[in-house]
């Protein structure tokens, strides 16, 4: 990596720095910031000069650093001849535009953002042409797109839609480019641009090759505004003129051209590539020129002209011969010069005369002779008239087209179309000049713009005029660029005068026909105005809103308020999974499970009856009752399955659920809302039930006692001292699950406190005591018993059915009972202290082990007077507190009827 490689990085960094600096400069210098930036651009160009000279000697300058490994992106910059040419455009035209800005932009306004974006764009464009890595090229490509979006957006409210169109069209192309780059990297085995370009054989042999070419072409077409994507470019003219001149005439739209030139090394001469580029390019050239010929707005005219010229460039690249490529390269340069000039002039006219419409402008030649002269120079160059550089490049193009050999007769067709486009070009060139500058003077008080305003345009215009005769000056640059595009080429020398060649004849034909068209302009105009105007923007908008509409349709099911609409989907998913499973699992996996206890069948029958009654009833009270009955039946099933702890807990939970439901239902209707017929719901539910049953049948009961189960049965008593194995799992072996579930309860309680704000940390007990006088005595009578029962369950839980959960739930029933009996709880029996103490105790018991150097939740004992306190008991106490906290919260927040709620 040479020191010159470093200058490439420095150049990019400098552009970035200039960009970031520009808002600050703008605050200082106002619109004159542009001059500083112009100098900056030139300095950057100067910095690149040594590298450029190396590049023009055939030795590409590179700089490379790894960016990421996988996906592999390397920050490789590479300056060769082609890159040098485009650097020259980017920085040269950039400097002119920057110098143009200060007089164009309004005085006193804030233009920091515009300068920032313009400079940023310049940097991105520079990066794009210097990128030596496929993906890095994409990175800069997209940055130019984004910069363009925001620069168009500086046009205000009317610019929003055009900006969006431009972004989306070029963005789409950008994504095509991304895929192209990725595929190319795979096909060529590298993402290094130089390596890839050398791997022509591998790429062309790859099955991915056609796709890569198509994607590259798509990217180039969108960026370079080829049919059918051309519409975004005229739309982009809502931006201020410097933006139009810089991005949408001279540089950004040339990114597509650059891309096609760059990858000509791979695809040049491939029939598909040629036919596609030539077909679309020439079509674009003719249509764009025809469209330009009927525009009245000078800027729009120039935009269509740009489209047309880009079409010619694309077509020439498509021809793929060395001559054609060379012509395309030269014309790219020429176009940048004359089109930038014309845009700047139109901006000048706009500023000076207040209009860009040729129907309102007239006779400006008389008061703005200098401006008119410059416009004339650029116009002649565009029209391809001697002695401008445009003449040379157009001649070369004709030569190139005539030599097209993609298919028999290609040359004739291509040349004919190219001439047609050029005739139209000549005509609209005249239209510009005649429309604005000729004729009688209509507006008074106009004057020639200040020299500073037109100087940048003058530089470009004069360069265009001078470089025609002196075109050979460009030879080293152009020839190296051609070599870089087509490494096998023998690049031609450009000559101002070819002698009386066929091309000269074509040029003469062009000018003659153009003059005819111009002289018959009224008739031509009428005829053109009658032709249908293909409105790509409208078509784009239709597609755009169709996509938005489709999105709204896709999202509609998810805007539903019906809960069932959402819950049906997992049910259906379950059914689908079941169907899949039915095919996937074969017979041997299914066992009939344990020999069923005959009592099981009775329980099952009861369960079916109760569930059926529950789903059918519309009485809320019946539903509560039947839910309780189902709970009782399931509890019996658990008992039969040898799970007394589960049965006990289920019973307690069931009752508290029923009580809570009763509290809530007291504010609602005793009848459930009448549902629709629900055949679909029944079918879905039935299917889900079937799947669940089959799944249970197939996937349970087919194996011996699990090692974990055996371990717990074996180890519970010796390791923990507890005889209730389930409880030892809860508090000893898998205490973390228990801590989690207790936290769930605490969260539910805190959530209820948040959802139903009541008196701050109110104590349990509702305002009404419905059965106070009768239940009060009962409560007094039973409370000690319940408390004792709870304590018993808690303390004996390690050995017998019970434990913190069920004990707390029993205590919870006392709280609920107390509420019904109208007996308020004590101060400490309020949600906050219970929940807080539970959470703190639970986490602290676990963390104490950590503090002691053991794993979290490792059991330990604390000596207390008269024995030891084991940490599992403390842990269970934490659970107890949280469970009780939830029950107290429920009674506190749901016990009061909705009417009594604040």
């Amino acid at each position: 990596m040479s020191g010159e490689g470093g200058t490439l990085v420095f150049a990019l960094a400098a552009m970035g720095a200039l960009a970031l600096l520009s808002p600050a400069l703008d605050r200082r210098l106002g619109r004159d910031t542009g001059y500083v930036l112009a100098v900056g651009f030139l300095v950057v160009a100067a910095v690149l000069t040594p590298a450029a000279s190396t590049a023009l000697d055939g030795g590409a300058v590179t700089f490379s650093r790894t960016w990421t490994d996988s996906p592999e992106i390397s920050f490789t910059l590479r300056m060769d001849g082609l890159a040098t040419l485009f650097c020259l455009l980017v920085l040269g035209v950039g400097a002119l535009i920057m110098a143009y800005c200060p007089r164009y932009l309004t005085a006193g306004g804030r233009h920091g953002r515009t300068y920032l974006l313009l400079t940023l764009f310049g940097g991105a464009m520079l990066g794009l042409v210097l990128a030596g890595d496929l993906l890095l090229l994409f990175v800069f490509w997209e940055m130019t797109t984004v910069a363009s979006f925001f620069l168009i957006g500086t046009g205000g409210a009317k610019a929003v839609r055009p900006a969006v169109r431009a972004l989306l069209v070029t963005g789409m192309g950008g994504l095509a480019l991304l895929v192209a780059m990725v595929l190319l990297g795979i096909a060529a085995g590298s993402t290094d641009l130089a390596t890839v370009l050398r791997a022509r054989e591998e790429v062309l042999d790859s099955p991915l090759s056609p796709a890569i070419a198509a994607l590259l072409v798509l990217a180039a077409f969108t960026k370079s505004a080829q049919v059918p994507f051309q519409f975004w470019l005229p739309g982009a003219m809502v931006a201020i003129t410097p933006v139009s001149a810089y991005l949408h005439a001279a540089t950004m739209v040339k990114a597509g051209i650059y891309l096609l030139l760059r990858f000509s090394a791979l695809y040049s001469g491939q029939t598909g590539w040629s036919v596609c580029l030539m077909g679309v390019g020439l079509l674009t050239a003719v249509l764009g020129a025809a469209q330009a010929l009927r525009e009245h707005d000078l800027k729009a005219l120039l935009a269509h002209s740009t489209v047309s010229q880009l079409g010619l460039l694309v077509a020439a690249i498509g021809v793929g011969t060395t001559v054609a490529l060379a012509a395309a390269i030269l014309h790219t340069f020429a176009h940048a010069l004359f089109k930038a000039t014309l845009f700047m002039i139109v901006g000048v006219i706009d500023r000076q005369a207040g209009s860009r419409d040729i129907r309102e402008l007239s006779g400006l030649m008389r008061i703005m002779p200098v401006t008119a002269t410059l416009a004339g120079l650029a116009g002649l160059s565009m029209a391809g008239v001697l002695p401008m550089i445009g003449f040379v490049s157009k001649e070369s193009l004709f030569q190139g087209f005539a030599g097209a050999d993609a298919f028999p007769g290609a040359g004739v067709v291509a040349a004919a179309l190219a001439v047609t486009a050029s005739v139209l070009t000549f005509a609209y060139g005249m239209r510009i000049f005649y429309g604005a500058f000729a004729g009688p003077m209509l507006q008074r008080q106009l004057h020639e713009p200040s020299w500073a305003f037109i100087a940048p345009a003058a530089v470009a215009a004069v360069a265009g005029a001078v470089l025609g005769p002196a075109v050979s000056v460009l030879d080293p640059l152009m020839r190296q660029a051609v070599l870089d595009a087509e490494p096998w080429a023998v690049p031609p020398y450009f000559a101002f005068w070819h002698g009386l060649s066929p091309e000269l004849f074509l040029s003469a034909l062009t000018i003659a026909s153009g003059l005819v068209l111009f002289s018959e302009r009224d008739r031509v105009d009428r005829m053109l105005q009658r032709l249908p105007r293909p409105d790509g923007a409208a078509a784009f908008d239709r597609v755009h809103s169709a996509v938005l509409g489709a999105g709204a349709v896709v999202g509609r099911p998810d805007r539903s308020d019906s809960t069932a609409a959402f819950l049906a989907r997992p049910a259906a998913a379950l059914v689908v999974l079941g169907c899949v499973g039915a095919f996937a699992v074969d017979g041997p996996g299914i066992r009939a499970g344990a020999p069923s206890d005959p009592v099981d069948w009775g329980v099952l029958a009861l369960l079916a009856v109760a569930v059926a009654a529950l789903v059918r009833t519309r009485s809320a009270l019946a539903a509560v009752a039947l839910l309780g009955a189902v709970g009782l039946i399931v509890a019996v099933w658990f008992l039969l399955a040898g799970a007394p702890d589960v049965a006990l807990t289920l019973l307690l939970v069931e009752v508290l659920t029923a009580m809570t439901a009763a509290f809530v239902l007291s504010g609602l209707s005793p009848r459930f809302p009448r549902p629709r017929r629900g055949v679909a719901a029944a079918a879905l539910a039935g299917a889900a039930g079937l799947v669940a049953a089959l799944g249970t049948l197939a996937l349970t009961g087919g194996r011996e006692l699990s090692p974990a189960g055996a371990y717990f049965l074996e180890a519970a008593e010796p390791e923990t001292g507890g005889r209730n194995v389930v409880n030892t799992i809860l508090v000893d072996f898998r205490g973390l699950d228990t801590l989690g579930e207790a936290s769930v309860l605490a969260a539910a309680a805190l959530g209820l406190l948040l959802l139903l704000p009541g008196q701050p940390d109110g104590t349990a007990g509702g305002p009404r005591a419905p059965y106070g006088r009768v239940l009060g005595p009962a409560h007094r009578l039973l409370l000690p018993g319940i408390a004792g029962f709870s304590a018993y369950l808690f303390l004996r839980g390690h050995n017998e059915p019970g434990g913190g959960f069920s004990a707390a739930l029993v205590a919870g029933t006392a709280v609920a009972f107390g509420y019904l009996a109208g007996r308020t709880g004590t101060r400490w029996l309020s949600p906050r202290p219970l929940l807080a103490a539970g959470l703190v105790l639970g986490a602290a018991v676990g963390l104490a082990a950590t503090a002691l150097g053991d794993p979290f939740l490792t059991p330990f004992t604390i000596p207390v007077p008269g024995g030891v306190l084991s940490s599992p008991l403390l842990f269970d106490a934490a659970v107890y507190l949280m469970v009780l906290g939830l029950v107290v919260t429920v009674v506190d927040r749901l016990g009061a009827g909705p009417g009594e709620h604040r």
Partner: protein, 117 residues
């Protein structure tokens, strides 16, 4: 076999209630589904061994797998917490519903409570 059928019955009933209007009924559907999951968990432990896993009370060889029981206990309690919160939400819906202008909740009046009789 019976466990599978029980799971099926509870699942079908639960899903049917889930697909009905009214949050309370939906909540009840979840209670049924919770039962189904719990029965399934116990079945997953194997139902050949049905002695309660209480050391000293019986033959260890016949004792049920205690791990699924612990799972079920955890699941029951979690479901309880959420069920209670759901019912709280039903109350909140009712409060929000009666406090606003139209009186018809999302999904129409059928979804929210009718005023008490």
């Amino acid at each position: 076999m019976t466990a599978a059928i029980a799971v099926g019955v509870l699942t079908a009933g639960g899903f049917f209630l889930l697909l009905r209007p009214g949050l309370v009924r939906i909540t009840f559907g979840f209670v049924l589904l919770g039962h189904a999951a719990n029965v399934l968990l116990l079945a997953a432990g194997g139902l050949e061994r049905r002695e309660p896993p209480l050391i000293g009370d019986g033959d260890r060889a016949g004792m049920a797998d205690p791990l699924p029981q612990a799972f079920v206990l955890t699941a029951i309690v979690i479901t309880f917490g959420i069920t209670v919160y759901l019912l709280g939400l039903a109350r909140a819906e009712h409060l929000a519903g009666s406090g606003s202008r139209s009186g018809a909740g999302p999904g129409g009046p059928a979804e929210s409570a009718e005023p008490p009789r």
